[in-house]
Point group: C2
Amino acid sequence: MLIIAGMGVHDVKDMSIKAFESAKTADRVYVEFYTSIPNSKLEDIEKTLGRRVYLLNRSDLEENSEKIIKEAKIKDIVILVPGDPMVATTHSTLKLEAKKLGVDVRVIHSSSISSAVCVTGLQFYRFGKTATVSYPYSGIISKYPVDVVKQNWKINAHTLLLLDLHPKPMRIPEAIDYLFKAGMEDWYAVALGDVGGSNYMKCDMLSKLRDFNPPGLHSLIVLARTLHIVEYECLIEFASAPKEIKEIVV
Amino acid sequence: MLIIAGMGVHDVKDMSIKAFESAKTADRVYVEFYTSIPNSKLEDIEKTLGRRVYLLNRSDLEENSEKIIKEAKIKDIVILVPGDPMVATTHSTLKLEAKKLGVDVRVIHSSSISSAVCVTGLQFYRFGKTATVSYPYSGIISKYPVDVVKQNWKINAHTLLLLDLHPKPMRIPEAIDYLFKAGMEDWYAVALGDVGGSNYMKCDMLSKLRDFNPPGLHSLIVLARTLHIVEYECLIEFASAPKEIKEIVV
């Protein structure tokens, strides 16, 4: 059986008891740091589990995935992945390939940035589509995240923007530059660092968040056109929001 | 300190190692089954933690929350909650109240239905706003979830619909009736039961999902106007989707 187990939003101790128990008893345990980068090194994960853990790279999970699926036909294989496994399309495709090759798959869920961002006080049911801010490709800056923000504004929804990880984790100042170059207008946003760990948060206009560069992985939330009063109070209390943001409370 | 710790999407073993360790060493541990209903009874939770756990009701978390916050001023108090804590506005408000009263709050994240639904193969970044199908209030059926589906259709997004839990967990057949009575048009949807456990899933037109009534808590996903090819393949493999759904693949 192939068991795809989430390690959760921050570090190895965000994995569930289920994931821990499955990894303890599996025939072999792999881990990948490609779809996100946890705050635990391979050695920390091995220490927590008390066993050897093997590192997979992108190609092991994508074009060469058949090898690991075939291994899971005769053994219990656990693949530990950052966050909640099915949020990454890589793992969803792996699950599909395994099913097609007649291999049973079990998914063990875990915490994900996608709901953990509600630690800001922004309400989950007010978030629209999520998008990723990518590095320029052949010198061209993608307009996709800006299009998604504009789509979400049409329905008055917040937008979670994840930042590209490869070749290295993008920082907030750089992401904001790419957004403006892609035609983004200046608007209120929350800049986040180390979600699930130290939870650094700062709310302000995008143009004023360019100096925010805390430790940990970064992400951004572009706010909807309006705020609920409880969201407003949380942003004041937890994210040092400027008082003028009251103008968008309805 | 007040520690609000998620128990995860399904049962007590979906809680993280962090949540487990905090609950083991806290001065007192509470649990609430109001914002969702886990697949573990109070006794199971007590057995897993090896200690006494006290049940909170809605009013303990809302109008009478000051009592528990004051307790957390002098003791380490863990409140175990279903899913990922901050997804429920109740817990977000509790965190805000604690901050105002000068009590430190720590949030321990866990898996949530909000990302676990990607076990269907539907891609996270294609989901729009989430809504709840509520029981009629004073005989009036809310149009809110139908409005949200229509908003999401404008941006070609899927809609996760959670079902009301009080006075008893709403079932899919009943939810579909309310949706049609609120003006919903017939469209492709995925009906879900026991997400994170047995993962019952069936994809079809809403009108054809009225007989789907598996064990566990229920939810619904109304599909976007189009499907990605991998989403289509997953719905065929995992949710017994009808072949005609191919017409919406782009």
